[in-house]
């Protein structure tokens, strides 16, 4: 199939999708097309769709693509939907999440060492919200549980993948000149 034929079909699929659509799913629908063709069509669709000044945007999230409204129109959309902003995570939970995201796989004891305070409540919240998952056990005495971020984490924070996070060094602030 020609890329120009494929492109509007992909747009339609992305529109109806609940979750980010990944190339593997598209390949299932177009078994005769190569990944290369599918990805080229996706790229072209995104370039064209996102360059028009519309209210929607196609974004790369959690290894797939998703069509969402543009954030700058949130006030009006919210007024129409009559909703309030959703519950936010506390700073304690976000800090714990940051430690897990950058140090994964990580144990509770290691999180405590970095944050200098108990983190089990925050961790419980993160597990309940499925932003964090158990990824295994560390091969040390006591075999403590190792935690890592989940796919839901990528979706919740609009990340394409973990490599999209800035490096931790970019957050150095007080260090000034390292001596």
């Amino acid at each position: 199939m020609d890329i120009n034929e494929l492109q509007p079909i992909l747009e339609a699929i992305i529109y109806v999708a609940e979750d980010p659509v990944n190339p593997e799913q598209l390949k299932e629908i177009f078994p005769d097309e190569s990944y290369e063709t599918i990805e080229t069509a996706l790229r072209k669709l995104m370039d064209e769709f996102n360059s028009r000044p519309g209210g929607m945007v196609i974004r790369e999230i959690a290894g797939g693509v998703r069509m969402t409204t543009r954030p700058e129109y949130h006030e009006h959309v919210r007024a129409y939907l009559k909703t309030k902003p959703g519950a936010r995570l506390s700073m304690a939970a976000l800090e714990t999440l940051a430690v897990i995201a950058y140090r994964q796989p990580v144990t509770l004891a290691e999180i405590l060492a970095i944050r200098g305070k108990k983190s089990s409540t925050a961790l419980k919240t993160l597990l309940e919200k499925k932003l964090v998952a158990i990824v295994g056990r560390k091969h040390v005495v006591g075999r403590p549980i190792l935690y890592g971020t989940s796919r839901e984490f990528l979706v919740h924070f609009g990340l394409k993948d973990l490599s999209e996070l800035p490096t931790l060094e970019e957050f150095a602030e007080l260090a000034g000149e390292q001596h």
Binding site: L94, G116, K118, A122, L159
Partner: protein
């Protein structure tokens, strides 16, 4: 949502009167120290430890006066500060003076801990901002998916055994020689599968077996999959009988929310 306030009830005592105060956003001893360092515009590489210790203890006293249950880590930090202060007061060890380079500044470890903590605080701020943006966008709301659309066949144990048998056969055709085997436990395999399912919702059953170096790995993987099914962490389906088996996260559709 609960915030971990200062009085994380370490003691567990004060039944109803546990005061849950959140002191201006600093929630742990490291946060308080960073706050003091910023407020006083202190060079982090040269912290006036006596001054900081005194201010830290003042805060601690205020919290005690307010009847706030102080978690253990606040007292541990107080002890650390006092220890560093006393080390700074000691005259340098004459034996160590000769090799001056090796005498470590007693503050160093704390400084690195503070710098590390600061980075994660900033990273948390970045996550907060991203969350704000994500809270301001909408995508298609979930719709009722017609059950037919997801029609799949649950895999029977026999189907599974047949598929496994195929895999073992193919493996034996490829590998005649068995090199010394690297031990692998079912637990490790379970962890591997869980890790894979973090990034993907469905995985082909056969893809788990492609890179196994020994037959023992095949068996460990197979048992790990059975265990995860038993724990209801995954389920197996195929589009029709005898077709490729897929592994999917969670419970069969219809049971999921």
């Amino acid at each position: 949502m609960t915030t971990e306030g200062v009085p994380a009830s370490e003691t567990g005592a004060g039944d109803s009167l546990t005061l849950t105060l959140r002191l201006e956003g600093f929630e742990g001893p490291l946060d308080l120290l960073l706050h003091l360092i910023k407020r006083e515009e202190i060079d982090i590489w040269n912290i006036p430890i006596a001054q900081i210790t005194e201010q830290y203890l003042q805060y601690l006293q205020v919290m005690k006066d307010l009847n706030i249950n102080l978690a253990g880590e606040w007292l541990v930090m107080a002890a650390t500060l006092i220890y560093i202060k006393s080390r700074m007061l000691l005259p340098p060890d004459p034996a160590g003076a000769a090799q001056e380079e090796l005498v470590e500044d007693p503050r160093t470890e704390l400084v690195y801990q503070l710098l590390e903590h600061q980075k994660f605080k900033n990273a948390a701020q970045m996550l907060y901002t991203r969350q704000e943006v994500e809270n301001a966008v909408w995508n298609n709301p979930p719709r009722e998916v017609m059950e037919e659309a997801r029609e799949v066949v649950a895999v029977t144990l026999f189907g599974l055994l047949r598929a496994f048998h195929e895999i073992v056969k193919r493996f034996e055709e490829r590998h005649v020689l068995q090199v010394d085997q690297e031990e692998i436990s079912i637990e490790e395999k379970i962890a591997d599968i869980r890790r894979l399912l973090l990034v993907r919702d469905t995985i082909l059953f056969s893809s788990f077996f492609t890179e196994a170096p020994a037959k023992q790995h095949l068996i460990a993987t197979f048992l790990a999959i059975l265990e995860l099914v038993r724990l209801r962490e995954i389920w197996l389906y195929q589009k029709a009988n005898f077709q490729e088996i897929h592994i999917s996260k969670g419970k069969p559709s219809g049971e999921t929310a």
